[in-house]
Symmetry: D2
Subunit: 138 residues, 4 copies
Amino acid sequence: MGNTVRFGISLDENLLASFDELIEQKNYMNRSEAIRDLIRASLVEERLGSEDQEAVGTVTLVYNHHVRDLSDKLTEHQHSHHHQIISALHVHLDAHNCLEVLIIRGAVRDIKQIANELIGVKGVKHGKLVMTTTAEDL
Amino acid sequence: MGNTVRFGISLDENLLASFDELIEQKNYMNRSEAIRDLIRASLVEERLGSEDQEAVGTVTLVYNHHVRDLSDKLTEHQHSHHHQIISALHVHLDAHNCLEVLIIRGAVRDIKQIANELIGVKGVKHGKLVMTTTAEDL
Amino acid sequence: MGNTVRFGISLDENLLASFDELIEQKNYMNRSEAIRDLIRASLVEERLGSEDQEAVGTVTLVYNHHVRDLSDKLTEHQHSHHHQIISALHVHLDAHNCLEVLIIRGAVRDIKQIANELIGVKGVKHGKLVMTTTAEDL
Amino acid sequence: MGNTVRFGISLDENLLASFDELIEQKNYMNRSEAIRDLIRASLVEERLGSEDQEAVGTVTLVYNHHVRDLSDKLTEHQHSHHHQIISALHVHLDAHNCLEVLIIRGAVRDIKQIANELIGVKGVKHGKLVMTTTAEDL
């Protein structure tokens, strides 16, 4: 973190009124905080466009734990990527279905590859990957 | 459009340096212009979340014009929604494939429904919908 | 286009029932057509992940035509990329706002760059890019 | 889960060849498994379009734990939604930055609201929400 700097921006008053409404609805403390979030989000998106970027991925998997050997297979996959998969969280959704969230760290390319591998395991019903950067300079 | 107002925002200097790089790369004239675009984009996304919002949709379709009756069917579909589909643009991609872009105006709900209908026509290979608002107050 | 081949897939009957509902709602003629669309969409997404892929982009811009010199600037930008921008469609949204849809052909990298340039022009309120492939083999 | 049923689909051989490549690259065991995943993903997307749908959300937050009172505020927010936030996973990204993943259960509308609230907390640098359904019938 560096020093805090301040600068002015100009805006149409109607646009500002609409933005102020959105800020309130989204519970932001003030305009600076809301604009900083928009700026950071645009930087994160830009960076994630590069396959070499160091990033952190959250993979959300839904699966039926009654499928034979599925838990074992998922565990095996995770161990074969134990350098990248740094943590896992498990939730019991109902009598049959589990939700598992894995946090993966590495290059964008590798995170996508590992996520695809996990989502492709037979018995995994649905999976989604979301990525962010480690954000050291943000 | 109302009057232009001006206000200050505070930011970490490293975050600002990264943002200034992005602004240059994206060819923005200055920070105000870039931040206004981020603000408008966030307002548009928020509004499009409501199914009743008046919006404008651009549907991009790719299809093979050799498929029997396809052009006729697409034209028919468009005419049955002539109040909403306000314009169409056609491009010949290669010897077989066409790209057609349709502009649809109406409630978010109706735009989605019409887009689904068009994308579902037999012979349409691929379709995508993108929406914006008419943006009168943005 | 090659020959049509046929193969069987197995599915849980409840999942199939839900899919049949979705198919009807989206106006697909039959399951094959709906599944072909899902397959093509997944292939298109995969390919668009590569910056070198030849693609077609649709850029939707909203702008106020009263902004001084804006139309001229947009036209100039388009001419400086006349090899890639193959067509444009213009719609008058209201007394002030225009919607312009441009079709751009080229590598994914170049399409993104041109779209950013256009969206960044002062006075353009909002812009969105959507891409598809020329889909010759799909 | 119901009985497994089987049906045939027809496809252009070139499209199938491209799909078989994608299947291999994504580590799917066979075509049925890959197509089931596409079908489930399309059903999940459809359902998440409705604000009343029961769903599960994964919120990924990045924040600097040195920001005064931030951890306390996040914890407080979570407790005020303890019926919906069913679990949290915390990862130390570097000397300053934390990643926190929260699993939220409820109607789509409520999940979005809680996610916005958390992302809007002062000091949270970046946040993303991804949703799936509980998938009981998928």
